[in-house]
C-alpha cells in the first residue's frame, strides 16, 4: 500500500497506532532510517498501559551527540504504514519538546520489508515481510 507524507517537512512523519493492555493511541513518529531501534515516549507507552517496568532491561544507545542507556519496553502491537509488529521491543525515551513527534520509527520495524521513499511524489511504499 502507498502512503503519503509531506516532503516539505524536515522529518518524515507517519502515523503509528500503539496498542496496549489499557488502550490504543494514534501518534506521529518520525521515520528514521538512521535509527536501528524504534523509540517511543515513556508517557505514550504509559497511556496504553506499558509503563517502564522497574526491572526493565536497558540498552546502550549511541545518539548523534552522546552514548546513553535507555530502558526497553515490549509493546503488544505497533502498526504503521499498513504493517503491524506484535510484542515489539522499543526504547523508552523522551525526545526534546522541540520535536513534533512522539518517537522514532526505526529500522527494526522494517525488518524483512521492502520500503521505498519517493521525495518527489511524497509517497511511502511498504511491502510487509513474506511469511
Amino acid at each position: 500500500m502507498i502512503f503519503r507524507f509531506d516532503p516539505t517537512r524536515r522529518i518524515i512523519a507517519v502515523i503509528a497506532t500503539l496498542s496496549g493492555p489499557q488502550g490504543v493511541s494514534e501518534v506521529e513518529l518520525a521515520l528514521d532510517t538512521g535509527a536501528s531501534r524504534t523509540l517511543l515516549s515513556p508517557k505514550v507507552l504509559t497511556v496504553v498501559g506499558c509503563p517502564i517496568p522497574t526491572d526493565a532491561e536497558s540498552l546502550a544507545v549511541t545518539t548523534g551527540s552522546r552514548r546513553e542507556i535507555m530502558p526497553k519496553v515490549v509493546l503488544p502491537e505497533l502498526a504503521a504504514l499498513g504493517h503491524a509488529v506484535r510484542n515489539f521491543p522499543v526504547l523508552a525515551h523522551q525526545l526534546p519538546a522541540s520535536t513534533s513527534v512522539h518517537g522514532l520509527l526505526g529500522l527494526d520495524f522494517f525488518a524483512g520489508c521492502r520500503l521505498e521513499l519517493d521525495f518527489r511524489a511524497g509517497t511511502i511504499l511498504l511491502e510487509p515481510p513474506h511469511d
Partner: protein, 77 residues
C-alpha cells in the same frame, strides 16, 4: 470541550498547539480525520499529562501536532 471536531476544524481552532483527542476517526491512511478534544495547548508534555489522567476511562486516544516547526531548526534524531 465535549465536542466532536473535524481535522479542518481542529487545525483552525488549535493552530500552534498540540491536541489530544478521544475516540478519533481515521481514514484508510490512518490519518486522523476528527475526534473529541480532551486537551490542547502549546506544551506537548502537559497535553500528554491529560492522557495519563484519562487512562482507564478512555480506550482510544490520538495526539495531533499543529505546532509549526521553527524555521531555523534542523533535526538530526
Amino acid at each position: 470541550m465535549n465536542e466532536f471536531l473535524t481535522r479542518a476544524e481542529l487545525e483552525t481552532r488549535y493552530d500552534g498547539e498540540w491536541v489530544l483527542l478521544r475516540d478519533p476517526q481515521v481514514d484508510e491512511q490512518r490519518q486522523v480525520t476528527g475526534g473529541w478534544v480532551i486537551a490542547h495547548g502549546p506544551d506537548r508534555d502537559e497535553v500528554m499529562e491529560a492522557a495519563m489522567a484519562h487512562r482507564g476511562k478512555v480506550r482510544h486516544f490520538a495526539s495531533l501536532c499543529f505546532v509549526k516547526e521553527p524555521a531555523n531548526m534542523e533535526y538530526i534524531l
